[in-house]
């Protein structure tokens, strides 16, 4: 039985971060892109909590702030998405193409 060390948490967080990044870059639905960003933020939280075991509680406090911010961001993001949907009737990133070059 291998003991679980901070390194394991870091690897898990890095994997989540990568998954989130891939999601943002490849998914076409804006809502799923938003969810992928949340995934990255959760990777951050995992990191912070894991480091908290080494350095003290401030990491956990930070994680709570990150969660709060994620909620605020999601609220504003969905509002912006609704405003966009009213104009273009789509939530597809490929069709966000009015402005280019």
């Amino acid at each position: 039985m291998v003991p679980i060390t901070p390194i394991h948490y870091l690897i898990l967080a890095a994997a989540l971060f990568t998954l989130g990044t891939i999601g943002v870059l490849t998914r076409r639905n804006v809502v799923i892109v938003l969810m992928s960003i949340e995934l990255i933020l959760n990777a951050v939280n995992l990191n912070l909590v894991a480091f908290s075991r080494m350095w003290g509680l401030q990491g956990q406090v930070f994680a709570i702030f990150v969660i709060t911010d994620a909620a605020a961001e999601a609220a504003v993001g969905l509002g912006i998405l609704i405003a966009f949907f009213r104009n273009k009737e789509t939530v597809n990133v490929d069709e966000v193409d009015l402005l280019k070059w």
Binding site: N47, Q58, V61, F62, F65, A72, V76, I80, F84, N87
Partner: protein, 495 residues
């Protein structure tokens, strides 16, 4: 460490408090007023708020030091950016009066959001705790996401907002990941405690990754290449006064954060990061601007290039580089806010007239405004007797002092290339006949005041740069002293 905050603590966040209170007042009064007539009143309240905040920032300068358990640090550096950001907010509010009524946007929260965004930007410049920096960054970003989409019946504006939001929160996530790794590498999120940890002979390898990731996040906010893709699209779609706002104020604040993280915290491995980003921003920004026909888009590319020039100062030695960068943000703010004030006046309902062709014959139709815009454009080129000249001069001489000959040559060539597209606007304004009859309106009081302020600032910085530069130098020295004082602080068991 414990106990309630003292009065001094509140004095050290006084501008933020003032701005928040006025922002809340605007939001509370908004539903009580008649929609059509309230805009000017609400705008005036916001204007008073930002003016009081300027005074509060100046007042704050007499009371330097730390507040709220070393989360906020008031020093010459933070006061400089406080005054700069709040002044930009005031000028943008003045510009917005006319714009809002012409575009028929009736929403008091517009002014409220400008104030709230300014709170975030002010906090960014005085925060020395990564948690607070992150929160301030988010306050400023979320406000600007919404402001970018304020012409919400226009598809272009909501698209700009959506793009800005998606890429912005993506970049913030990178920044946060960097912060988390920095916490892991050094055991603290306080810049003054991070810097001694990074000064040891063996820097934890995690710290390099952390600095790189934080640079991605902040590089996005300042629109430096290769994180600049959003800039032209967002600047084209967002309301013109807001573009003037977000191309200067959040940028200045993000540069302040970058200065604090890179120099005060003594980030490792920063040099090549900055070098590449500076070169890429200058080249891509200027090359992109050459082919633009939309004036807002053109200035977006120009703002990328200016972020590049600014980063040149970052690559230089900290003693001269920091003050050069501070001077540059001020000069750039003066001329860019002014240029966008003129653009927002010409844009007309629905922002119809924003292409280069629409500017043809402007010299005849509206001589005063054309002359004003010309001065701002000359300043953006860097012609002597304007703020832009000394800004570039100090940046490049700082780079030369650090023996960055290659970077300086690339920068100077780029500013020569840049002259082409700025001059093209001037040529079109004066040498070409307008093809269609575009209605001309008089200059209203608010816009006139905004233009006079930014014109005065541009010329003042170009003719008498001494005082501002001296101030920047003094506060940069203060900033650089930190590692020593922080090391002294760790002798006493402060944790």
């Amino acid at each position: 460490m414990s106990g309630l905050p003292q009065t001094a603590d509140y004095v050290r966040i006084l501008p933020e408090l003032v701005l928040s209170i006025f922002g809340i007042v605007v939001m509370l009064l908004e539903p009580l007023f008649d929609e059509r007539r309230s805009q000017r009143t609400l705008g005036s309240i916001a204007l008073i708020g930002s003016l009081v905040a300027i005074m509060a920032s100046v007042f704050q300068a007499q009371n330097p030091g730390f507040a709220f358990w070393n989360m906020v640090r008031v020093d010459g550096f933070s006061v400089f950016f406080h005054v700069l950001v709040t002044t930009i907010a005031a000028v943008v509010i003045l510009t917005s009066y006319e714009y809002m009524s012409v575009q028929r946007i009736r929403a008091g929260e517009y002014y409220g959001l400008i104030l709230f965004g300014t709170v975030g930007m002010c906090l960014m410049s005085s925060a020395v705790e990564l948690v607070l920096i992150f929160i301030a960054l988010e306050i400023s970003s979320i406000s600007t996401y919404i402001l970018a989409g304020f012409r919400r019946r226009e598809a272009a504006s909501s698209e700009a907002s959506l793009k800005y939001f998606l890429l912005g929160s993506f970049a913030t996530a990178f920044f946060l990941y960097g912060v988390a790794l920095m916490f892991g590498a050094t055991g603290s999120t306080n810049i003054d405690k991070i810097s001694p940890a990074l000064e040891q002979s063996t820097v934890p390898p995690l710290a390099y990754l952390a600095v790189a990731l934080m640079f991605v996040g902040l590089g996005f906010k300042v629109a430096s290449a290769p994180f600049h893709i959003w800039t032209p699209d967002v600047y084209e779609g967002a309301p013109a006064p807001i573009v003037g706002f977000m191309s200067t104020a959040p940028k200045a604040a993000a540069f302040a954060v970058l200065l604090r993280i890179l120099f005060e915290a003594n980030a490792p491995g920063r040099f090549w990061l900055i070098w590449f980003s500076a070169v890429l921003s200058m080249c891509l920004g200027n090359l992109g601007a050459l082919v633009q026909t939309n004036v807002k888009r053109l200035l977006a590319y120009s703002s990328i290039a200016h972020a590049g020039y600014l980063l040149v100062a970052f690559a230089a030695a900290p003693e001269v580089g920091v003050s050069a960068a501070m001077f540059y943000t001020a000069a750039y703010a003066a001329m860019n806010v002014g240029a966008f004030a003129v653009i927002s006046h010409f844009a007309n309902a629905g922002e119809k007239y924003v292409t280069l062709d629409d500017y043809a014959g402007l010299g005849r139709r509206s001589p005063v405004l054309a002359a004003t815009l010309t001065i701002f454009l000359l300043s953006l080129i860097g012609i002597p007797a304007t703020g832009g000249f000394f800004a570039k001069f100090y940046v490049f001489s700082a780079a030369l002092k650090a023996d960055l000959v290659g970077l300086t040559i690339i920068g100077v060539i780029n500013s020569a290339v840049a002259a082409y597209y700025y001059l093209r606007i001037i040529v079109v304004m004066y040498m070409r006949e307008s093809r269609e009859e575009i209605p001309v309106r008089g200059i209203p009081l608010g816009l006139g005041t905004a233009l006079v302020v930014s014109l005065a600032a541009t010329i003042y910085l170009g003719v008498l740069p001494g005082r501002v530069l001296d101030y920047a130098l003094a506060s940069a020295n203060q900033l650089m002293q930190t590692p020593a004082s922080a090391a002294a602080a760790t002798v006493n068991p402060g944790r």
